[in-house]
Amino acid sequence: CGFTPAYGPSGGAGVLQSQVRLTDPVGRDGYLLNRRLEERLGRGGPSARYAMKVTPIVTQSGMGSTSRGLTTRFQLLGKAKFLMTDPVTADVLAEGEVQSFTGYSATGTTVATLAAERDARQRLMTILADMVVDRLLVAASGLPS
Amino acid sequence: QGTNVGFGASEHDTSQPVEVSADSLKVNQDDGTAIYSGNVVIVQGQMRLAAAEVIVIFNKDRSAIDMLKASGGVTLVSGPDAAEAQNADYAVETGNVVMTGNVLLTQGTNAATAERMDLNLETGQANLSGRVTTILQPAKN
């Protein structure tokens, strides 16, 4: 049925290993997203086979309003555009956009809400990074090696 | 008529004698035309016409010049004004000059370029045509 282990002989994902060089991160979101991508794919050195730029955009929306007007729930909506190019010819090898959200409650103390928000933001970056990796694994066998 | 003349010196008289000087002259006996070539200069009153080659065509009884056909780069000067072109045909009788090919007309500070100019030396009227470009220099008041 066409399935094969991504990191197996014909899966193609092996070409990505430590061969993806990320552009420098901007802000905490970018740092956390790049950190997770390097955790999964290793870090590409100066002569890496692929260059990739991933740009996260996060907005927040309030939910869960009580009859007394309190907002008890927040959601962080995250989008990440990824663009993988050949560092020499700048040809576009893979590109796209992934999106997801994470939520946190605001019914606790101020420091509980602060910790919950910062953790929700970190989790959002992890989810977006994993979704980018999924797209790369699926496209890997089509990448030039 | 009293209108001051557009092009050239005022009151140009086309009946004045025409002097022609050139490096060489060749006369064609059977049709009675004369071909001047090499630094040809034609002077009539205040008008002066220079060209590389001028063919002079006389009227039937060869009593007067009917037409001067200048070519190879022509310069026509009259009073303060001047005109250049590839070719110029001067019908002496009527005073009409037809200049064609990269015509450049300069009148005092104003200049104009055109494909063709129909000039009447007596009235001074000049008709330029074919995407005419004129530079109007404002008078320094």
């Binding site: 899966g11 910790a115 699926v138 | 000049a126 404002p138």
Partner: protein, 683 residues
């Protein structure tokens, strides 16, 4: 006076009639120092240095203004003269038509008996709006339009008269003057008018005053913005005296700024202060119920993250007292990453945190300071058959100091070792052009040593489970709590992506632990020895539908928590809806379940009409929380927006209020928005 430049004239035929007259005919064009004129015939009188021009005349200059006329007498520099049957078109949108226009010094255009509009005028029908004026002067350099005896007409019916009126021409940005007035009406503040007035302060700063007057309130709002070389600041404030709170002055100040410091550090600050708890909600300035003022310095590099912040909180919630809430918080985080030669990643983390409560009473007035340092090593390998194995090992040193809490140890220091092995086995099918399918079983076994110290849980009381921390060594958001003992997790991830067709993803997972952790409450989904099932999905359809959902399914098959977000842009409909469900959980101060959906839709009713609506409905209380409807008419020359919205929530600080809004913006002036997008054509 600049020295006069020669004018260039191009035409099909030029008749040099006399020394003094030159006549140009046939597609005549004249160019003069950035000004271009086209006409059918031009007569040049050399003595008078004037041009008599026969139309149709089009005179356009370098900054996009266009003057159309039937005939004209201009000087040779096209700077002075009279145009008959003139129409001045500014920036391709605003038209000033008049019987006669006089051009002065190439800068001013004086027009008499003028009609000004930016509406498309087809044939003889009257424009939607126009300003009739006795005379008008357009100053090209100052980009201003001065109008005398202005009469605003809607569909040719005079509705407004002003002896003198000055309006900025469309190309003028940062012009001092009135912006679009707004008519605001709410059941609390009555019907009032808000008249913003913009004042530029040099090139880098500006201030906008907005008096807002209604039978109930006299308010002055102001926004100050300043751009520096290395950063920007912006402050919003308002001061009011109203009959809602008699003889007190109510005011708020919100400010924010960001600056670039030396070697890549960035400083940001944000100030939020108000002098009365219900002011922000009464005037709809903000629906925040907790104000946080923060000063933060941060630096991000590929291998290093540094941040330090000082935060002050002020709660506006009726049921909270600021004395027993941590209102002063300090946070420092430092992380450094290395890639050692043996492979993998070595990570050093140091965090310091402190929060302070004003109250001195035992437990309620607790102040906590903690210092946490950790070293982590992580690596991943590819095993035969494409299995991806990962190892994470770390040691954390925690030092926590608690004051004014007899139930907790005053000071603890603890070392916590952690280790985890993760296994992923991704299978893929490549369908070409980057599309295909992924199936990835994942599993992790982790161990954390040490027993939980007797310290208060101030920061980790709200725990979430999602795809990100299904495989994780600790799901608590802050280091004041860590998961202990053996914890196992397993899941399956599926994803399909088709560049042309639909794309979707699914994640299913569960967590097992050797001993249940009492800190996890029911709605966290992590209670007991086996967690709830984590179910997460996303779907992107080709027809503009985008759905993301996540839920925690308990053993009885009921959702303890569910969140769904959907966006559907399809032809003329733009719909955004979200649903959130959270079961009742007193441990997290949620005595009643939360089940609420919100819907936000816009629909293009007709070519220029857009309807919009917003609803938020609480299913558990069977209560409409807020509702709003809006109607907007927009064409190439006018933008009319009407909206009504109501918030039903009420408490001692919040009044249920209905807000009505009406804005009318005449397009074509630089304040009214550009009229270029909506170009109608005459049929």
């Amino acid at each position: 006076q600049t020295e006069n430049q020669a004018a260039l004239l191009v035409a099909d035929r030029v008749l040099v009639e006399s020394d003094n007259r030159l006549i140009a005919e046939g597609k005549v064009e004249a160019f003069q120092d950035g000004v271009r004129l086209t006409a059918s015939r031009i007569v040049y009188d050399r003595d008078a240095d004037s041009l008599t021009i026969e139309g149709p005349i089009r005179l356009s200059d370098s900054n996009g203004n266009l003057l159309i006329a039937d005939s004209a007498d201009l000087d040779i520099e096209l700077r002075n003269g009279l145009l008959r049957g003139a129409r001045l078109v500014l920036d391709e949108q605003l038209q000033l038509a008049s019987v006669q226009a006089r051009r002065v010094e190439g800068r001013y255009t004086q027009m008499s008996k003028v009609a000004i509009t930016s509406c498309q005028v087809c044939g003889e029908d009257t424009p939607l709006w126009q300003i009739r004026a006795r005379n008008v002067v357009h100053d090209e350099e100052a980009k201003q339009i001065y109008i005398d005896e202005a009469q605003l007409r809607i569909l040719d019916v005079p509705v407004f008269y002003l002896p003198h009126l000055r309006l900025p021409d469309p190309t003028l940005t940062r012009a001092r003057g009135f912006l679009i007035p707004e008519i605001l009406s709410s059941t609390l503040l009555g019907t009032g008018v808000r008249m913003p007035y913009f004042v530029p302060l040099g090139d880098h700063a500006d201030i906008t005053f907005a008096p807002y007057l209604s039978p109930v309130t006299r308010t002055i709002e102001a926004r100050y913005r300043h751009a520096f070389r290395t950063g920007t600041v912006s402050f919003d404030t308002a001061i009011s005296r109203d009959t809602v709170q008699r003889d007190t002055t109510r005011a708020y100040l919100f400010g924010e700024g960001a600056f670039d410091l030396r070697n890549d550090f960035k400083l940001t600050f944000d100030i939020e202060a108000v002098n009365d708890r219900s002011y922000l909600s009464d005037y709809n300035y903000s629906d925040k119920d907790r104000l946080d003022s923060e000063l933060r310095i941060e630096r991000v590099r590929p291998d290093e993250y540094i941040t330090g912040a000082l935060i002050h909180y002020e709660s506006l919630r009726a049921n909270e007292s600021n004395a027993t809430l941590p209102t002063i918080v300090g946070n420092v985080e430092y992380e450094r990453r290395f890639l050692p030669a043996i492979g993998g990643e070595l990570r050093y983390d140091v965090t310091a945190h402190s929060h302070f409560r004003y109250s001195e009473t035992d437990v309620d007035g607790r102040d906590v300071t903690r210092l946490n340092a950790g070293v982590t090593y992580l690596n991943r390998w590819t095993l035969p058959a494409g299995i991806r194995a990962g190892f994470t090992g770390s040691v954390w040193a925690d030092h926590v100091n608690t004051v004014q809490d007899s139930t907790a140890d005053a000071m603890i220091t603890q070392l916590t070792p952690q280790a985890a092995v993760e296994v992923r086995w991704p299978w893929v099918r490549n369908d070409g052009q980057g599309g295909g399918m992924l199936l990835e079983p994942v599993a992790q076994i982790g161990w954390t040593g040490g027993t939980r110290p007797n310290i208060a849980n101030d920061e980790s009381t709200r725990v979430e489970l999602d795809e990100a921390n299904l495989l994780s060594l600790s799901r608590f958001p802050a280091p004041d709590r860590r998961e202990r003992g053996w914890v196992g997790a397993a899941g399956i991830r599926w994803m399909r992506y088709a560049p042309a067709g639909w794309s979707a993803g699914l994640t299913l997972g569960r967590i097992w632990r050797d001993t249940a952790d009492a800190e996890f409450s029911r709605s966290s989904g992590l209670m007991g020895e086996t967690s709830d099932w984590l179910l997460a999905m996303h779907f992107t359809g080709a027809n503009g539908l985008d759905l993301v959902a996540r839920g925690l399914l308990d053993n009885a098959g009921r959702f303890a928590k569910a969140e769904i977000r959907g966006v559907w842009d399809y032809k003329r409909l733009g719909l955004e809806a979200s649903y959130v469900l959270q079961s009742a959980d007193p441990a997290v101060a949620r005595n009643r379940a939360l089940s609420e959906w919100t819907m936000d839709a816009t629909y293009q009713l007709a070519e220029n009409w857009t309807g919009s609506t917003l609803w938020r409905y609480d299913i558990v209380d069977n209560r409409l929380d807020r509702a709003g409807v809006g109607l907007d008419y927009s064409n190439e020359c006018i933008d009319v927006g009407f909206s009504v919205s109501r918030r039903f929530a009420s408490s001692i600080n919040i009044e249920p209020t209905t807000n009505y809004g009406l804005t009318v913006a005449l397009k074509g002036f630089s304040t009214g928005g550009s009229a270029k997008e909506y170009r109608r054509t005459c049929r």
